[in-house]
């Protein structure tokens, strides 16, 4: 295959009639990584592909599709593209429909199911917590419910990540404009204090989250993450191959209580990965619950 100069830009996106190879790339990403870019995100996908194409000197989506499928670089290139797609995703209150569904539908169901037990404590696991915005957001949400939904209940949030540097960031709890862009003045004032031009989470908020380093493939450690009510695993599985995904999902299944919920990232799916979990639709979002385990399922 010939490569053309880097500066010959690919044609601009026609949203109504997108390049068929852009659609193929969209489908490939879904097939390989389980994350879907709907039609209204095609412009975004187009932009992110073009960043990678400039890097590689590819001049058409067809050529770039070949880079992702038949060329020796296909695996690292898929990771590089996924990085482009998910970069900058992290911020506080990132996925509001998910948080609303959690608060208004999921939590009441879990509290009802668990209410019959003597210990009134929720266990939530943020798996692949990155720089900590997700577990801190969950913590703020639960603290806000302390006098209503969560009255008489306590909670613990376990947040794990493989990356040491991310965990140092979590423990410092200092965030810039990008991460804090969705924070309302109410939350800024109540749960943060200014540190130079940034915001640092208060000690009260820090005390609600336990951060630790965890490799999701460490079977021994994974077996200790028991009795979870809710697991969040957003934009983590997309980087794994199908067998690795199945392996990790199996742990999640074992670690969740029978009434538990697994939340994935926006437009992320377990289709073709695991039949044990059951997709449920919640208001403007989706999650997974433990269905009846089928005999002989993987």
């Amino acid at each position: 295959m010939t490569t053309t100069p880097i500066n010959s830009a690919p044609p601009a996106l026609n949203v109504a009639h997108p390049d068929p190879f852009l659609i193929k790339i969209r489908d490939l990403i879904y097939q390989v990584a389980g994350i879907f870019q709907p039609d209204n995100k095609l412009r975004f996908l187009d932009d992110r592909c073009q960043r990678r194409m400039r890097e590689l000197g590819a001049t058409s989506f067809r050529e770039y599709y070949e880079c992702l499928t038949v060329k020796p670089i296909r695996q690292p290139e898929m990771v590089a593209l996924l990085n482009e797609i998910t970069i900058g995703e992290t911020c506080f209150f990132r996925n509001q429909p998910q948080l609303d569904a959690l608060r208004r539908v999921v939590l009441p169901k879990i509290l009802e199911a668990k209410g019959v037990l003597p210990i009134r404590k929720l266990r939530i696991w943020s798996a692949g917590c990155s720089t900590g915005e997700e577990p801190y957001t969950l913590s703020m949400m639960l603290l806000e419910e302390a006098s209503e939904l969560m009255k008489g209940w306590t909670f613990e949030i376990l947040a794990t990540d493989l990356n040491e540097r991310s965990l140092i960031h979590c423990n410092k709890g200092i965030y810039g404009d990008y991460s804090t862009r969705n924070l309302t003045p109410y939350y800024r004032q109540k749960y943060f204090q200014p540190v130079e031009n940034q915001l640092q989470v208060t000690n009260q908020l820090k005390s609600c989250v336990s951060f630790s380093r965890l490799n999701l493939f460490d079977n021994a450690r994974m077996a200790f993450m028991k009795s979870m009510d809710i697991i969040f695993c957003c934009n983590v599985l997309i980087y794994f191959d199908v067998l690795s995904k199945r392996h990790v999902i199996q742990h999640y299944y074992n670690n969740l209580l029978s009434h538990g919920y697994l939340f994935l990232g926006h437009s992320e799916s377990l289709y073709g990965v695991c039949d044990d979990f059951r997709l449920v639709h919640l208001p403007s979002t989706t999650a997974y619950t433990k269905g009846e385990r089928k005999t002989g399922s993987k």
């Binding site: 949203v15 109504a16 799916s269 289709y271």
Partner: protein, 299 residues
């Protein structure tokens, strides 16, 4: 007012369905003309029939230019719209715009734009769903989705105050409208819609879709169309493309009675990827909102 008297009043008022406005004058001859074999149709004749209506030309142009209807270049003439859309789609659009024009004018508990968005959104989801599972009549599915809530229009005309209270109650409790209707009136928009659908002489499959979209298991003859409409309606409501409020519930589509019904006739559904289908819907929600606002602006 007691449960029985409300139902009695409703049923009595339903005898006066003639009070409801009818389909626009130009539509009947246009639809009759479009029933002829396609090779005998004259584009110019269709254009001139369409042009007699005050809103249909602009609405057809908007739809012809929407990605939801597969446009590939800007269309600025009515003739271009007819050619680009094709006769079948044009027929669907004429029906869409005509039915949606039946919304009462003035204050109403159901926002007309929201009603249009739900109806058109459900029509598009039905058609897309039908294609995905190899249902043999995707265009019929479109019409089923479009017309399934006819009964809401009937209720707005026949029982505006009582129905308004039902809408308020459903919104406050964030529960499905039909559940509140059943509780308050002993009858839902499915039954009132059926009466209008029969009066209009809609085909039996569409009458069943209108009648059973909240109880697909009771459908008699056209069970897969009914189930397809029921699931699409539910999916739209879960995606906040419902009746102007978000229903607070959790749904497992594979456990829905309508899913069982549809599975009987569409084996492709066994391996259906509900997650992807849901993400795809999200991708065209914005376009539905935008298109309906354009259409409403020209109604």
């Amino acid at each position: 007012m007691t449960y029985m008297t409300t139902k009695e009043v409703l049923l009595k008022n339903l005898e006066n369905l003639d009070k409801m406005p009818s389909i626009p004058v130009v539509v009947a001859p246009l639809l009759r003309y479009l029933e002829q074999p396609v090779d005998q149709l004259d584009v110019q004749k269709v254009v001139s029939l369409l042009a007699q209506d005050k809103s249909l030309p602009a609405q057809s142009l908007h739809m012809a230019n929407s990605p939801l209807f597969g446009h590939w270049q800007t269309i600025d003439s009515l003739k271009g719209a007819v050619v680009s859309l094709g006769f079948q789609r044009l027929r669907d659009i004429v029906i869409s715009c005509s039915v949606l024009r039946l919304m009462p004018l003035g204050e109403s508990k159901i926002n007309p734009v929201v009603f249009w968005e739900h109806s058109l959104g459900c029509a598009l989801v039905c058609r897309h769903f039908a294609r995905e599972i190899a249902f043999p009549h995707p265009e019929k599915a479109y019409l089923g989705g479009l017309l399934h809530d006819l009964g809401i229009l009937v209720n707005l005309w026949i029982l505006p105050q009582e129905f308004g209270r039902a809408v308020d109650h459903a919104q406050a409790k964030q529960v499905p409208l039909f559940e509140v209707e059943r509780e308050m009136f002993g009858i839902t928009h499915c039954e009132t819609g059926r009466m209008l659908a029969e009066r209009w002489g809609l085909t039996p499959d569409l009458i069943e879709a209108v009648s059973y979209h909240h109880d697909a298991a009771s459908a008699k003859t056209h069970r897969s169309l009914v189930a397809l409409v029921a699931l699409s309606d539910l999916l739209c409501r879960m995606a906040d493309l419902g009746h102007g409020y978000q229903e607070l519930c959790q749904v497992s589509f594979q456990e829905e009675p309508a899913f069982e019904v549809l599975l009987e006739e569409c084996p492709a559904l066994t391996a259906f990827d509900w997650a992807r289908f849901t993400f795809e819907l999200e991708g065209y929600l914005d376009e539905v909102h935008q298109l309906v606002r354009q259409l409403y602006g020209t109604a």
